[in-house]
Amino acid sequence: MGSSYVTHAAGYVDNGGPKLVTSRFGYEDSHTLARFEATGGYVGLKAAMAKRPAEVHSQVREATLLGRGGAGFPAGVKWGFCPEGVWPRYLVVNGDESEPGTYKDRLLMERDPHQLIEGCLIACYALGLSQCFLYVRGEMALAQERIATALNEAYAAGYVGREILDSDFSVDIVLHWGAGAYIVGEETALIESLEGNRGMPRLKPPYFPAAIGLYGKPTIVNNVETLANLPWILEHGAAAYRRYGSESSPGTRMFAVSGHVNRPGVYEVEQGVTTFRDLFYGEEFCQGIRGGHELKMFIPGGGSAPWFFEEHLDVALEAADVGAAGSMLGSGAIIVMDDSTDAVKACHRLVRFFARESCGKCSPCREGTGWEEKILQRILDGHGRPSDIDLLLDVGDNISPGPYPVAAHATEGLDAVPFPPRQTTICPLGPSSVAPIVSTIRRFRHEFEAKITRGDTIPVSAAPVTAGGN
């Protein structure tokens, strides 16, 4: 089967594989109710409503649907954390996609908003969630319009709102706009933002959303893509779902591959059976590194992920494998960098992102990410000092203490240090800034040293106390 770039779903490439969530992307009017109903839309909802809510929950759990937002936590298990007898419960859809390297949720919202709505309805039905808030990133104007239109259509057609399909299942889905802050993608920050506050994460414990969430009530926070999988699962069943992908990571995922490949794009890929090599070099995927260049490094899962290198090309696109190799799949944002890339500059760019997006609530991230960025900028500007490299690592250690997750490297004799990192911070944003630093210094220390021109040092009064060293 051939693969093709779908022009009206900018960036999406139909790679000829199974389509559990992108099945309608080929249609120009894929976002309309008419097309949705004509292509099996709301069948999954009807299947769910024909079951008892608890059965729907069991089915989702059985399917082992892993969260698609970055943490990869099984949705069915998360759903089970709501305490008995505490009402009301809410569904908050995390559509605040801001991770550098991917925009799969944007595509799902623009191209198939009804599928998302259907997924929300299924979740609400299963768990007794009495209101759903669809939090869409503020900068995604078209996505908001498509969802607004779809909601208006769905309400009018009786799929959303009071007495859905003439049953006693009633739920309102409210479109809520974000306003531009990466940190709000963290689930407790999302809830804070939805309450009208600054989007600063809450401490977990005790504020696990399923226990204490929106307005202090049990709240399920699910990613857009996670919910978009529900219609297919309810229509075809958990067993059918598990026939795709791998044992521990069934189904498909949307991966965005950007950077120095010949055909960057968003692909729906079967988990576990595809490797990075397949993805980068496959004819149906990215068709190799551009312009005769060689692969230098790649980020397997978004800005927070430790970097991979050539020796990791045969790792399968599956959370467990990637984790064991010392990184994370995150939200499926893969960034490929070839040999023309300045590693120090790339590192700085990511650290600067985290510094700009830090919410400011806790000291290590607020101060530490800014400090890291300033040191890197100074190095790039030609005023680096020899002590800066170890200083960077130690600052990182004070944000994320102990051995930082690193990818295995056979020739360097490194064993992988698995994800996630420890944190002195409230949330993982601060530790995320350490990933590019550790990855690039470990591998490309010579590039840093080449940029350092000064001879003086900043005294480091205490040697970093870390187990295993950085």
């Binding site: 900018a10 007794g128 078209l142 809520h176 306003a179 506050n197 600054r198 950077g259």
Partner: protein, 215 residues
């Protein structure tokens, strides 16, 4: 204190009524205020505070956390050039430099004719179509210096540049502040109904009718 015009005030109440707590409407109302004026004025924040039962300091505290809210007048077209990693790898910084030259402003500034504000932003979510810029949050994929200039020329000439975006988005380019050209409306006869959380004591109807001990 009244900032919102009649229609927007009515809309503000409609929005507030969708939430179990009025405070949750803070961000939607800030967007509405920005849509009316082009930026978020102190008067807007004072009225929003009254409408949602908060104080102006809290509303400013919330608003100032987020990138999209502007606290001084900006151009009618806000041009955001992404320089995050995927775009940087494919020329995002060069695009920004070109934009500065082409528009005659440094990043962060507004052109003298009040038409354009240029910003250097973080990932706009179009990474495979790098380098990318947005104008009033409408995408322009796989940008080149040439395509950038064409978009600017269209805007100056009063033509819609949307087709050039290659983002499946068309129609007119809204001015800064307008997010969705379509709004959600929930009609009274279809609304399921919103309750303050403290007034809800039991499981919702369809679940209560079917409790089999499962949470």
């Amino acid at each position: 204190m009244t900032f919102f015009d009649t229609d927007n005030e009515r809309l503000a109440h409609e929005v507030i009524d969708r939430y179990p707590r009025a405070r949750s409407a803070a961000i939607p109302l800030l967007h509405l205020a920005q849509e009316q004026e082009g930026w978020v004025t102190p008067a807007a924040m004072v009225q929003i505070a009254e409408l949602i039962g908060s104080t102006p300091a809290e509303v400013l505290g919330t608003a100032s956390f987020y990138e999209m809210f502007k606290f001084h007048p900006v151009g009618r077209y806000v041009v955001n050039v992404c320089t995050n990693i995927s775009c940087q790898l494919l020329g995002g910084e060069e695009l920004l430099e070109h934009a500065e030259t082409s528009l005659g402003v440094r990043a962060g500034g507004t052109s003298d004719d009040g038409l354009f504000t240029l910003e250097d932003v973080e990932c706009v979510a179009a990474c495979t179509e790098a380098p990318c810029f947005t104008v009033n949050y409408r995408y322009f994929h796989r940008a080149t210096t040439g395509s950038f200039d064409e978009v600017v020329a269209d805007i100056r000439a009063g033509r819609s540049p949307m087709q050039r975006g290659d983002a499946g988005d068309d129609g007119d380019l809204p001015e800064h502040g307008t997010l969705g050209r379509v709004r959600q409306h929930i009609s009274d006869d279809r609304r399921a109904g919103v309750e303050a959380p403290e007034n809800v004591t039991g499981a919702p109807l369809w679940l209560a009718a079917d409790r089999n001990g499962e949470g």
